[in-house]
Amino acid sequence: MTHAAPVEKVMTKNWANPGQNTLEGYQRSGGYTALKTALEWAPAKVIDEVKKSNLRGRGGAGFPTGLKWSFVPKDNPKPKYLAINADESEPGTAKDRFILENDPHMLLEGIAIACWALGAHTCYIYARGEFKYPSAVLDKAIAEAYAAGIFGKKLLGKDFELNVYQVRGAGAYICGEETALLESLEGKKGWPRLKPPFPAVVGLFGCPTVVNNVETIASLPPIINQGAEWFAKLGTEKSGGTRLVTLSGCVNRPGTYEVGMHTSLRDLIYADEFGQGLPAGRMVKAVIPGGSSAPVLNAAELDTKLEFEAFKPMQSMAGSGGVIVMDDTCCMVRCLWRVARFYAEESCGQCTPCREGQPWMARLLRKIEEGLGDMDDLKTLMNVAASIAPWPPIGLGNTICALGDAGALPVQSFVTKFKDDFVKHIENKGCPHGDKPWGHFGDFV
């Protein structure tokens, strides 16, 4: 038995309460009191409080939320918008859907607080098209909020109109990228825009727009209720609060857990409260710490904390909290091929390095996996990746959006950290794992 340091529950605190996903249930556990408080404050005070809380975006980049909000120009006469990113498509990530399913009013209250702070009268929630059930729960919650006079002409009775609409995507990972999301909200195909200008200045319909992740905005009610200092103190120096992570792959108890920013990857994988380790005899070989775009780590790097700063020295990132564990019987080439195929499928096709490079990398990996590759293929693989984004990463690569990097970094990190595996495939002219490349739990039973 191993235990992790205790974590104060913030995001999941009320999930088990009966009826929590209805307005009545939400109000029973204190719902919409934070909005009442926020509406008594000046918008600038709300923004200040969010800054002080050290809340950082949970969608992938970990950008400080209060700072992002402060980029919205004050003197722009155009309407302002809030767009909620509920696209949740980063492989390995399954957390936002549980907020929508279990506590949708927590998001809606957060939306109302954010719109008040930003002076936005319209919010669109962009949910991935596959979210049939989560979207149905959310639609019901939105309707309840209108019927109760929370949304509509007068936000909770205040002279401030707020309309909230859910828009469902239709199956395209790229629409999680914030500018592709805006294009999609405008009724177009999801082709990312060149930045700058950033959405906070020129966003939806050419107007200032803040794009935030579901979990980010759902964190606002507890911040207002219990104070920015409390939230900041829960976390580490630069990352406030707790966070939701999804643990998947070769562990005994995969699932979605609320962890502290101080919780380590090792605790997440092994502690009784979380993953409960690997089956007897198995060891961790590799871990992707923040969704499949995040560069892979090896077994020596498990003591890293799950906060936003900690992965920088390893050239990786906390990303969207999707932690994927591979055991010592997994084939690294096959795992990487699977990831590469995803980015090849999902490239929007706008930039040449990404459109041509991602499928090329997937083909080379398949060739190596099947024992048909040579050392030149391995070199080509790394060259193609470098033409999309340099390694080690130095910020954004050579493409319009970060999907380019998202596909290149896994290739570069896998090949750098597990080079032996690739070389063995080439020397043995085949996969050393035969027809069992997926580790302990890889069979369908």
């Binding site: 949740e88 498509s89 980063e90 492989p91 390995g92 990530t93 399954a94 936002d96 859907r97 991935r128 098209g129 596959e130 979210f131 049939k132 059930y133 309309n163 609409y165 828009v167 469902r168 995507g169 239709a170 199956g171 395209a172 990972y173 999609s184 909200l185 405008e186 009724g187 177009k188 195909k189 999801g190 319909f205 999804t246 643990l247 998947s248 792959g249 070769c250 995969p254 699932g255 979605t256 992707i288 499949s292 999707g322 994927i324 564990v325 591979m326 997994c330 795992c335 699977r338 990831v339 995803f342 499928e345 999902e346 997926w438 580790g439 739990f441 890889g442 069979d443 369908f444 039973v445």
Partner: protein, 162 residues
């Protein structure tokens, strides 16, 4: 005379749906409703017939080419009539580590089809991560989601598809 696209009842539903959607956007941004409008059409007809896309475009004040461009960009839109049951199996990494490749083969055998082939009854496809990584492996049948799958569960699910 070609058969009309909508029954009178469907026509009513179509118009009402579009009217409602248009209230969600600024009056000069009608074409923003494209995704929800196409979804609405697909819910009514099971797919996106070209005449239907033309109607959507007309109501949104844009061209049918624009509607088609959007429809073909997103995998959930069917610009060809799909089989009665569209079955999407996630084969991304987290699912693969929990048996997704075996699940896909099992489905191919049970349904007597190959992934990617559209048939009258089944349209089996490989799909990307469906946000069930911690409850893998998973699949969707006509957008209904099923997770933590094993052979027994799949057998029970397929029993119901008559």
């Amino acid at each position: 005379m070609p058969e009309p696209l909508f029954t009178p009842e469907e026509q009513l539903q179509f118009d009402r749906g579009i009217d409602e959607l248009l209230t969600h956007y600024p009056p000069d941004r009608k074409s923003a409703a494209m995704l929800p409008a196409l979804r609405h059409l697909q819910t009514l007809k099971g797919w996106l017939p070209p005449e239907g896309m033309a109607l959507v475009a007309q109501r949104l004040g844009t061209t049918k080419e624009r509607a088609y461009e959007v429809a073909t960009f997103y995998v959930m839109f069917h610009t060809e009539k799909p089989g009665r049951y569209v079955i999407d199996v996630c084969t991304n990494l987290s699912c693969a580590l929990r048996g997704a490749e075996g699940l896909l083969t099992y489905m191919e055998q049970k349904l007597g089809t190959h992934a990617g082939t559209n048939g009258d009854k089944y349209f089996l496809r490989e799909t990307e991560c469906l946000a069930s990584c911690g409850t893998a492996p998973c699949l969707q049948i006509n957008e209904d989601h099923h997770e933590n799958l094993n052979k027994a569960k799949v057998d029970a699910l397929l029993e119901k598809l008559k």
